[in-house]
């Protein structure tokens, strides 16, 4: 039969519901992120601090083990808000490393290969595309942040000889909210920066630079202009202050250089809006041809 006698017609079979389509992208995103051996290695390394904290909880709740291991130490091992703050901070910085490795894999390849026009010609919106990628990175980061932190909390509830959980639920809530804010911010930041840098190699460096260089600039602003507002550019410090307040742990900044929570939240919101603007400008169904 000759080709011209074929009549082409629209597909009439079952269609994936609109709200489910982003999960297709998320599923492929997960597969791409976790196909790398380095991702698996980073994930395995991220569990090492959790094991250390787990041993800490065991020791704190077991006087016999504590007396055997910490023989000459006069310092009592206590599991409180500061302990969980330490766990959250450790896991959150590992999440930054994981973001710098995974996010460029999710988005830079599509941009470098000019695949966006093909992807967006499918029945999926630009928002759907980004949301699918966001789910993939957010889910991957959840596995190393709030999930292990809450598991530590559950283990402490189980191991404690005293009724502990009810009186300390705010710690669990603080850890959960703090981790969600951090990984949400990291996901948007990673996607925005990766979308602007075509090369994966550069994108990884830019994500680290975007966290550490403003911290240095903030320190210069503080020192040169004799102010404390430069600390708002220091993401590691602002996030630590926010987590500390969410968990109810003691203040670690000096009284004079304390930052208002509203200012921290405003900076995070502004940074996210800037990232969204960057994504809006970059994620478009167009192909760049040079030459």
């Amino acid at each position: 039969m000759s080709v011209h006698k074929n009549t082409y017609r629209a597909y009439t079979g079952p269609v994936t519901p609109l709200w489910m389509r982003v999960f297709v992208l998320a599923r492929y995103g997960f597969a791409e992120a976790w196909s790398s051996k380095i991702t698996i290695t980073l994930f395995t390394l991220s569990l090492l601090p959790v094991i250390v904290f787990l041993v800490g909880i065991y020791l704190a709740n077991n006087p016999i083990a504590q007396s055997l291991i910490l023989k000459n130490s006069h310092r009592m091992l206590t599991v409180d808000a500061s302990f969980f703050l330490g766990a959250l901070q450790m896991q959150s910085w590992i999440a930054l490393v994981l973001t710098a490795w995974i996010t460029p894999r999710l988005i830079s390849f599509d941009l470098a290969d000019n695949a966006l026009p093909i992807l967006l010609s499918h029945p999926i919106s630009r928002f759907g595309y980004l949301f699918g990628k966001f789910i993939a990175i957010f889910g991957s980061l959840s596995v190393v942040t709030w999930v292990p932190c809450l598991l530590l909390f559950v283990y402490q509830c189980y191991a404690s000889t005293q009724p502990w959980a009810a009186a300390n639920l705010s710690i669990a809530a603080g850890m959960f909210v703090g981790a969600i804010i951090w990984i949400g911010f990291l996901s948007i930041l990673g996607l925005a920066l990766s979308s602007w840098v075509k090369w994966r190699v550069v994108a990884t460096a830019v994500i680290f630079g975007a966290v550490f260089v403003p911290a240095g600039v903030g320190a210069i602003v503080n020192a040169v202009l004799r102010t404390q507002w430069g600390l708002l550019l220091n993401i590691p410090v602002t996030m630590s202050v926010l987590w500390q307040r969410l968990l109810g742990a003691p203040e670690f900044l000096r009284r004079g250089s304390s930052l208002p929570t509203t200012a921290i939240v405003a900076v995070l919101v502004l940074a996210c809006l800037l990232c969204l603007a960057m994504l809006n400008a970059r994620i478009r169904a167009r192909e760049v041809v040079r030459g």
């Binding site: 994966r200 990884t204 460096a205 680290f208 320190a219 210069i220 202009l225 410090v237 000096r254």
Partner: protein, 287 residues
């Protein structure tokens, strides 16, 4: 012995040094233009000149503040020790020197260089020279501008501090530190870009290594760029707050020992890079 030395000397003299020099010059010129005058390089200008901008604002509002020259001298030393060496020059050199070889791999243009009748060592050293010139021009001029702006606000006292006091000596030391930092980090990142497809994770390990290096045994401290540079700082900055995390105390070394130590490290890294590039294979499909 004398015969061997003379034959070696004769062999060295027979090499086409003039040709290599011209080739290196041409390559360096091309690379410097690409490093300094392309839109992609704009972020390095930001890294280099953002402290200058902040100091400029300080100069503009400085008359309303109670300023002390000692404080500002210490702040300038802190900016160079903590910002430029640990962040600005580090990330700047990572960008400049990683692009020299790995960037050409990603752009799929490295084979043009390798197919031309130029020795690979000449290509590598020319690219290193170009990266060093670009980094030095940017960060050197930024530090010079920072220095001038810092003391401008003090008027005649500042002028006196620079020309009749320790100012010029400090400026010389800061520029020396910048040169060594650019060359040191440049050599390390050039080598990393030859070894790894993605040199950034390795660079982050280098960053971590530079931070924890002082607690390492003295022998291991010799393989760190920042540890040599610390001994060359003309003004000692006491660490406090967040800076304390990045600051380290080690035994004092003389300026000559620190400079020579770093230069030896740079030469060793470059020699190994020249050895690596001889067997370097281009596989664009895996990039």
């Amino acid at each position: 012995m004398n015969q061997t030395t003379s034959s070696f000397r004769k062999r060295v003299m027979q090499q086409p040094w003039d040709l290599w020099w011209i080739q290196a010059l041409r390559l360096t010129r091309i690379e410097v233009k690409r490093n300094l005058f392309s839109w992609r390089a704009s972020w390095i200008y930001f890294l280099a000149f953002i402290p200058t901008l902040i100091i400029l604002i300080h100069v503009a509002v400085g008359r309303r503040l109670q300023l002390s020259m000692d404080d500002d001298t210490e702040i300038l030393a802190g900016i160079i020790q903590f910002y430029y060496i640990r962040l600005g020059i580090f990330f700047g050199c990572l960008g400049i020197f990683s692009r020299l070889i790995r960037g050409e791999m990603i752009e799929r243009s490295l084979h043009f260089y390798f197919l031309s009748p130029v020795r690979r060592e000449v290509i590598l050293l020319a690219k290193f020279a170009a990266g060093s010139i670009s980094a030095l021009l940017l960060f050197g001029s930024a530090i010079l501008a920072d220095f001038i702006l810092t003391y401008t606000v003090f008027g005649a006292t500042g002028h006196d501090y620079i020309f009749n006091g320790p100012g010029l000596g400090q400026l010389e030391a800061y520029l020396m530190i910048t040169v060594l930092a650019c060359l040191g980090y440049g050599a390390v990142f050039l080598l990393l870009s030859l070894i790894f497809k993605n040199p950034t994770p390795a660079a982050m390990i280098v960053m971590g290594w530079e931070a924890i290096n002082p607690i390492a045994p003295s022998l291991l401290q010799k393989i760190s760029v920042a540890s040599y540079l610390r001994h060359l700082m003309p003004v000692n900055v006491p660490a406090e707050g967040i800076f304390a995390l990045l600051t380290v105390q080690t035994e004092a070394e003389s300026v000559w020992t620190a400079t020579l130590g770093l230069l030896v490290l740079i030469v060793l890294v470059l020699v190994y890079s020249c050895y690596r590039i001889r067997t370097f294979e281009i596989r664009y499909t895996t990039e």
